[in-house]
Every structure is written in structure tokens, then in C-alpha cells.
Symmetry: C2
Subunit: 337 residues, 2 copies
């Protein structure tokens, strides 16, 4: 069995470019004991992958040059030496940017195609949804009547954060780029207010939309959105720090003045809590997450939005768009039917 795969050819500086990747076709070996041969159906594209392309210290080791780019996948089992997985089974795994792969079955979880659309295992019912659920509820702890702000709010993490905040009785303010996305925040996801961070008067709009200040800011972008949020934070505000996508392609520190001490002063004077996290820290909550969020999806309390791009050969271009906000909802590559 052949696999077509996209490997990291070189480490990008700034925005990843096509020349940083190389498409190869390799012959796969037959699955050994405890392994399965998989055909990728859907590949998840997520902002964290930009970090894996760099060898800067991070919470996870980088993808090595000449290695297949990593990524969560929904796949069909073609062959298996593990009796727990039969040909035709659909599984969630971590096969990366490739059409076929041989995986150890301990990394696979069988999906029930009748329970929910398969793609949701990569979005609202998968890692992004769990990131939103665990970070918001464990660190953010929104209380009824409080104000929760989240950016990249049409993305699978941000949209889920806002909707869980609403379920918990908080006001949810969503931030996104451009009028199409802010309309989605209001109409599709039910945010109480939706702001375009590209507006010249964004900071003033944020102030107007948060008359009682901000109690929880779920940080997944950084940059000028955080700058505007900082002065609106209430005493005892909580900031789960989940991502900083606005800076992922930065090659230099921005010019001064140096505001590190300014941020520390806000933390001190307002008794703020900032807590970085990655969802794997909270995996013991997955057992409560899945029934809760799948129930909210089933009863309509949580809407989701997916942006499915057809064909592995569009992966690099789609990933570039993810880093600049071109996608509309959870970005997924459809690799095969």
C-alpha cells in the first residue's frame, strides 16, 4: 500500500511557505502485531502545528525535518492485526498529513458514525472543544452574570468557549476578524456582542461592549486584542492562556516600550490569575466533557461550524489561511471519502 504524505522540508521563518514542505509517496509495510493500516478520511488543521514546525522550546517536541507533519485524523481501518479493530471501522487517531499510515492501535479510538458527524471528532467533540471546556471551566470559572471575552471566536475553541460561558449564565463577547465572522458570532453562535478586531476603534468598541468590565478572558490570540482587553479586566479576573496565534509567525520581539512590567503591574493591582495550559493536562476531565458537550450539541445549546477543504494537496495553503484567519470555523482537510 502506498501513502502520499507531506513532510516538513525545512523550518519556516515567519509564515510557512510551500517550499517548507515536500510531498512524497512511500510504500507502507504491512501492519505488524498490534498495528492497523489506516486510510485517512479527514485531517484536522490547528494553530498549534505552527509551533511544531519550530525547534524553539515548547510543551511538545517539534516535528523533525523530513518527518511527516503531525495532526489528528479520522481514518478508516483497512487492515488490522488487533481483533479490537476490524476493516471498515472508523477511528480517531494522530496519523498526520498523509493519505495512509500504519499506526499502533493503542493510539486509536473507535468512532460511532451514527452518534455524531465524523468531523466533529476533530472539532467541537474533539481536541478543540475539550480545550475550550477544560480551560474555561477549570481556569476561567465563569460565574452567572460575569462577562467572558474570547477572540478567534468563530474558531472551534473560541465558539465553544462563548457558548459554554452562556450555558453557565455569563455574558459572552466574541471577537473575530471582519463582518462575515462577526455576523456569524451573533447569528449562528448567539454571542451577546460581536466585535471586529480590525475596526480602527476596536478598543473603544470593546469598552462599550463590556460596561461591567471583563471577568474572564480566554486568551488564544494575543497581540492587539490582548492589549485592549488588559485595561478592561476586573479585579480577580481569570485568563486561561491557551494560544497566542497572532504571534506565532513573529521573528522578532516588537519595538518598545517594554510592557512586561506593565503587565505584571496589572496582575498585581487587580489580583489577576493568568494560567497557561494545554488540554492534555486535563485529560482526566474527558469523561465528563464528552457527554456534556455532545448533549449540548444534540439539544442545540452548542452550534458548531466546520470549514472542510477537499484534498490533501490543499493542506499547506489551507494552513496558511488558518494563521491569517481566512477559514470560517473548524478547518478540516477532506483526504478521502
Amino acid at each position: 500500500m502506498k501513502s502520499t504524505r507531506i513532510v516538513l522540508a525545512s523550518r519556516p521563518t515567519g509564515m510557512p511557505q510551500p517550499e517548507n514542505f515536500r510531498t512524497e509517496t512511500v510504500e507502507l509495510e504491512a501492519p505488524g502485531p498490534g498495528h492497523a493500516l489506516l486510510q485517512t478520511l479527514y485531517l484536522s488543521l490547528d494553530p498549534y502545528m505552527r509551533g511544531r514546525m519550530s525547534d524553539a522550546p515548547s510543551y511538545a517536541p517539534p516535528v523533525e525535518v523530513d518527518q511527516t507533519m503531525c495532526g489528528a485524523t479520522v481514518s478508516r481501518v483497512l487492515e488490522s492485526t488487533d481483533p479490537a479493530f476490524a476493516p471498515g471501522d472508523i477511528v480517531l487517531g494522530y496519523a498526520g498529513w498523509q493519505t495512509h499510515s500504519v499506526e499502533h492501535t493503542s493510539y486509536l479510538r473507535t468512532l460511532d458514525p451514527a452518534a455524531a458527524p465524523l468531523t466533529t471528532a476533530l472539532g467541537v467533540l474533539g481536541m478543540p472543544g475539550f480545550t475550550a471546556y477544560s480551560g474555561l471551566l477549570t481556569i476561567g470559572r465563569p460565574q452567572p452574570g460575569e462577562t467572558v471575552v474570547v477572540a478567534a471566536a468563530t474558531g472551534p475553541v473560541g465558539a465553544t468557549v462563548g457558548q459554554i460561558a452562556k450555558i453557565k449564565g455569563a455574558r459572552a463577547i466574541g471577537i473575530a476578524g471582519g463582518p462575515q465572522k462577526t455576523a456569524l458570532l451573533r447569528d449562528h453562535f448567539g454571542f451577546d456582542a460581536a466585535l471586529d478586531h480590525r475596526a480602527p476603534d476596536f478598543a473603544e468598541q470593546l469598552a462599550a461592549a463590556t460596561p461591567d468590565g471583563i471577568d474572564v478572558y480566554f486568551e488564544n490570540v494575543g497581540g492587539h486584542v490582548f492589549d485592549a482587553v488588559l485595561s478592561r479586566l476586573n479585579k480577580f479576573a481569570r485568563i486561561p492562556v491557551c494560544g497566542l496565534v497572532a504571534g506565532y509567525n513573529a521573528t522578532d520581539l516588537p519595538p518598545g516600550p517594554d510592557r512586561l512590567g506593565l503587565l505584571m503591574g496589572h496582575i498585581l493591582r487587580k489580583s489577576l490569575t493568568l494560567r497557561g495550559f494545554i488540554q492534555t493536562e486535563f485529560l482526566d476531565q474527558f469523561g465528563e466533557f464528552y457527554p456534556a458537550v455532545s448533549g449540548w450539541v444534540a439539544n442545540g445549546d452548542i452550534a458548531y461550524l466546520e470549514d472542510v477543504v477537499d484534498g490533501l494537496d490543499h493542506t499547506v495553503e489551507a494552513f496558511q489561511g488558518l494563521l491569517t484567519g481566512k477559514n470560517l470555523g473548524k478547518l478540516i482537510i477532506k483526504v478521502a471519502d
Copy 2:
């Protein structure tokens, strides 16, 4: 009865200067119902007072111009209309920079001069000790074998932080300015290592003293100490943010590059917790703090050091010294015998 008092004459820019204060003598009225006339014996000087001299937003309202400077005090009751307080009683209060005052008795706590030296009520057994106890144990949560770092470590907060960390089984690294203070850290307070932040190779010394990284950094100074600590922080490190005295006199943001995003990146990648606090948040722990720490002081597990300056007329000069680290231990003005 007359009182000599020091009022804030104008708001300082940068380091407070003598012309920012004015000494006045006023005639006090006789204490009304529920009040007591007090003679100040000891006045506590603490870094937070610099913040009260400014009208920048903070956790507490500023001292108004022409108002008596605030501060915790140990006083003798001269007259009282409250039967719970008799002439001759010694009380802890918040009378500020003055020789006598009339105070509502609800703000007073009777001290037992036989239980502990009166000055400890302003230091290790008072607000500074409680700041150390509550911030370290609630936010820092040092575990046996972990590494705890604290600066201004000969001060009453830092010294108590280090010694409680040791009691909890952690390694304690103290930072202070100059060889006299680092010797005290080792010999008087029993820190496992003592570093001089004025050393040209301070960052290298810190790295050498923290071979397993830093799990808890109790932040009370900011500035270049924090910069050196940042790269030594371990995954899941906790940073109680208690003070930033290095920047209290700053009038401008420092020059760039802007490292705000750099700090956020550290928080994200290392799953750091930064939490600002003021000890009043944790007052419900005072009932456990007092017996615990007074017991450790009594059995010698916690040493303390006080720098007692004689005479209210030396208050401004002593306070300037506090902001530049000239004092050696808890700074107290002896106002009367």
C-alpha cells in the same frame, strides 16, 4: 492632647523626597463614643506605601494630599470610651505617621506584650508575615523537593517565604542586594543558597543555584530579578505576585523591545500560573496563620530581623532607604517608649 503628624504635601514623581511631606502639630479632640486616644509606639514602614502616595489606579485608594500618611502602628491606649480597651493597653492599629491619634476601637486589636515582642505584630506575626504565609501556601503551594525563589529576601515577607518553604520541604533560594544581606540569608535565615542581584553574573549564578529549575517564584520586586527568573521557571511553576518594588518609582515604561508577548509565551508554553494578590484577600486564613507562625518563631524554625529607627522625624529618610534596600530586615520607626 497634641499630635505631631507627617502629611502628604504633594504626590511624588519617582523617589519620594522630603518636600513631598509636611510635619504638622494638631490638637486632637477627646475620644467620642467607641473611640480611643492612642500614643504611637511603633510605626511600620512598608513598600506598599509608595503606591498610596500616587493616584494611579490600585487596589486601595490613595492617601489624599494634606492627609496623614497611612501605616500600621503599635500604640498605647491613653484614654478610651470603649470598656474593652483600658488606659495602658497595647494595641495594633492603623494610625499612620503620627505620634498620637483618636481611632475607632473596631480597628484595634489588643496585643499581649508577654506573648511576643511588640514589634513582631508589624512584621513576622503581622501583615508581612501573613502576606508571606497566605501567598506562598495558597498560590505558590511548594511541594517537598521543589525549588522556591524569593527576592528582597532579608525583608519580612521574603525571609518568611523562604523559611516557610523550608518547613514545607522545599529548597529555598534567597536573593538580596550586597554581601551583608546574602550572608544574613545563609547564616541567620538558613536559605539553601543566597544570591546578590547586583552581581554582574547574577543570571548565571541563579542558573547554577537552580539546577532543577524554579517551581515557585514569590514575586515582590520585579525588574532584572524577574527577567533572570523567567528562563529558569519549570513547567507548571507558580508565581504569587505580591509586589514590584523595583518599579514603584518608575515614571516611564522602560525602552523596548516589548517583552509583553514574550512573557505570555512563557506562560503558555510552560503552563505557568501568575496570580496577583494582596493579603486582605486571604484574611479568613489569619486564624490558622497566627498560631502556626508564632509557633515556628517560638521553636526557632522561623528567624526574623528588625531594623528599628528611632524617631518619627526620621520616617521620610527611612522610607527612602526602604525603596533602595538600605534597611536590614523589617523597617520600623520607634515613635515613643
